[in-house]
Amino acid sequence: MTPLISFYFQVHQPYRLRDLRIDEIGCGEPQYFDASKNRAVFRKVAEKCYLPANRLMLELLESYPDFRISYSLSGMFLDQCREYGEDVLESFRKLVTTGRVELLAETYYHSLSSLKSLAEFVTQVRKHTEAIQVLFGKTPSVFRNTELIYRNEIAHVARLMGFRGILAEGADHLLRGRSPNEPFLPPTFRLSRDREGIIRKLRPLPRPAEQIHVLLKNYRLSDDVAFRFSDKSWVGFPLHAETFTDWLTGSGGHCVNLFMDYETFGEHQWADTGIFDFLRALPRIWQERGIRTATPSEVLAAWQREPKSTQRYDAHNFISWADMERDLSAWQGNRIQGAALDAVYALEHAVKATGNPLLLEYWRRLQTSDHFYYMSTKYWSDGDVHKYFSPYESPYEAYRRYSHALCDLRQRVAAETGSTPKKATRRKQR
């Protein structure tokens, strides 16, 4: 049987931090984020990726009535669209109006809140769902967590939030030889009454879903495009649309899930690698060969139409789509990352107690996963992707800026609530 092809693209931009200095802490209201850098990066990526890729996608959607794709647009990306790129937002709107583009749900702040605070996690998913409803008039029904961070419990939280599907990495050690090319079910269990209560109170969708299916990324075929497309030392180089289509059909099963960063088109793989031509050729070949594309919720609908037994995907421990390890080590791999993460979530209660929307917004923007990714020292000396994608000189520079921002925020929160910040008292020992 020919599998369905399901494309999902992640679209996200973090708010990078300014070169904050210690003497700005506690003096008025320092800017934490580097507006000119963020604008410059956004515009660069817009010109190289978002705008040309969206133009092409629109062209393909108009030319091939069966072509379907899906996106997850982080709230941080949407906020930056409003600041730096209404044109980009408009081009996404055009895609969505075709009716053949599905938008997925995620945490508004592209955060790691699923690891740290259930209430915050559900609140951020709700905020994102509401933003998608307001901006695009659509309600997501499939959830994807930041960087595909996943485990059984997150699937159940997503189900209780109302989602019918959730995306995850097709990790070899969990698949144990099985193909990732069909929807799976997480093992059934119940969350504690307290946790269920929190979700019920804050959930983005009116009622929980009865069942949630897991759609697994086919990482080999996804990464052939996302990472290896222009790698001249790769045995598959140069990759032609025909060959890739052969691989897709040869992969078999119900659906091949091609999940990747949208920046693959034009930013990670530059235009001169031929990535746009490759993408342009795919729907034509698929139409000729009778291969159909589907969005995640269509994949699930098709699966449920035909009665068959569904296998379990049992993720007791966390997985993600990051690095070779596909675990949490990209954000929690060293001491400074752990300290930063603990410190920002330690502020949750106090920030919320201020009721100050500005402080709340700052605190949430400081939760974006990229801040912690930049602090990774995993492959630092090998000049690996962490280095390539970091706007800072080093993981220590990332931590320096971050800890300053957090220090200042802590003081501002303390000033509003009238309490003395715990850490700051110890520090001010003059």
């Binding site: 200095r21 210690i22 001491r335 400074i336 020292t377 080093s394 003059r430």
Partner: protein
């Protein structure tokens, strides 16, 4: 293949342990581990040498034989020549006052070089810094074997880019005569290309290695500098323009403004000491800065161990072994970007030498954030496993092999 290198050095521990001497000793020991025979020529009697090294130095008879009139200047005179040139107006106004003296001393060593090593059957000549270049050159011609010029520091580094033209020309000539140049960093390699016009493909980079110190200082020494109640920030190096101690005081002022309890130790001796003391008092740091003067090896180790942050703000540092020393003692380091050691350190803050505000900020961050300090302490020493003298000497050995093939 058994290789034999004829090496010309200028200093060697314990006679003097500046960076050049320490590096030279490390390399000699590393080469021996790589089964390279070393014959080492020095301008002075070493006392006792490492086992297995054939050490030669000029004797009285030899001096009589080659009849060079002047005597060797004390080592320190040579070392501080560039600094005196820079700081001392007399030297600037009368460029020949020191010139002939220095020239004669170097010439004497040079003249005796061939005499001393006539019987040596070496495969390659390897010389360290400009004072030995001409000696190496003559020996290489005499034996008709390749010449390797190792550069540990340039005249530009020593003088804040106001070189004594006579020395710089001597360096340039020596470098051009060599068949292969070994620079201690990419930083130095770039400097040689830019300021000396040396072709880049002639220069190989071999970073300095590091030898783990064998003994740990007793606790009594540890508590001698700074009471352990207060954080301690350490500077260690000669108090000369190149090491930028003035900047360290600027940084100290800024740190002091936020954390008045922090103590600063400036370890080392040098011509800038009086003005630095004045400056420290001017800044109101008289109770916070300790000038230790020149220290022994064990005291230095105790300081490294006691420090919470080590700062190397050098204007232009070809390598900067002190940073590796500090790291070996598990002290977080902040180094000037204008240094060779910055190229090999992953777990450190790197700041432009002129950016006092940022240096102060990095210090304050390390002092405030315990997890950061802990991570720097734990992770930085990994580099030392890679940067052993045995490994680095292996790179030098393959340079020899390449020259001989």
């Amino acid at each position: 293949m058994q290789l034999h290198t004829l090496m010309f050095g200028w200093e060697y521990p314990p006679h003097h342990s500046g960076g050049l001497g320490v590096a030279c000793q490390g390399l000699v020991r590393g080469l021996q581990k790589q089964s390279v025979r070393v014959t080492l020529v020095l301008p002075h009697n070493l006392g006792e040498a490492d086992e297995g090294v054939d050490v030669r130095y000029p004797t009285e008879e030899l001096r009589a034989l080659v009849k060079v009139p002047s005597i060797l200047n004390p080592y320190d005179g040579f070392r501080s020549y560039g600094e005196r040139w820079h700081t001392d107006h007399i030297a600037k106004d009368n460029p020949h006052l020191y010139g002939p003296n220095l020239a004669a001393a170097v010439e004497q060593f040079t003249a005796m070089s061939v005499e001393m090593t006539k019987d040596v059957d070496a495969d390659v000549v390897h010389c360290h810094d400009w004072m030995t270049y001409e000696a190496g050159n003559r020996a290489a011609i005499h034996h008709d074997i390749p010449l390797v010029a190792h550069i540990h520091a340039t005249e530009f580094d020593r003088t804040d880019f106001h070189p004594n033209p006579w020395i710089a020309e001597r360096e340039r000539k020596g470098l051009l005569q060599a068949d292969r140049i070994i620079a201690v960093s990419d930083y130095t390699k770039r400097l040689l290309i830019t300021h000396y016009g040396i072709p880049g493909d002639k220069i190989a980079v071999v970073h300095n290695g590091h030898e783990q110190p064998a003994d740990v200082p007793p606790p009594s020494l540890l508590s001698r500098y700074g009471s352990r109640k207060h954080p301690l920030v350490l500077f260690l190096g000669r108090l000369t323009v190149q090491k930028n101690p003035w900047q360290f005081l600027e940084v100290a002022c800024r740190v002091h403004a936020h954390r008045p309890e922090v103590e600063f130790v400036m370890a080392g001796d040098g011509p800038m000491l009086p003005e630095l003391i004045d400056r420290a008092c001017e800044c109101g740091l008289q109770d916070n800065v300790i000038f230790t003067g020149k220290l022994g090896q064990r005291e230095v180790q105790a300081l490294y161990q006691a420090a919470d942050v080590f700062v190397m703000p050098s204007l232009s540092e070809p390598f900067g072994l002190v940073a590796l020393e500090a790291i070996a003692h598990r002290t977080p380091v902040i180094v000037s970007k204008q240094s060779g050691v910055a190229e090999v350190l992953d777990h450190a803050f790197k700041v432009d030498y002129w950016d006092a505000a940022k240096m102060a900020d990095c210090i304050l961050t390390v002092l405030r954030e315990e997890p950061l300090a802990e991570q720097l302490k734990a992770e930085a020493p990994r580099i030392l496993q890679k940067l052993t003298w045995e490994n680095q000497a292996g790179k030098v050995r393959s340079i020899y092999t390449h020259l001989l093939s």
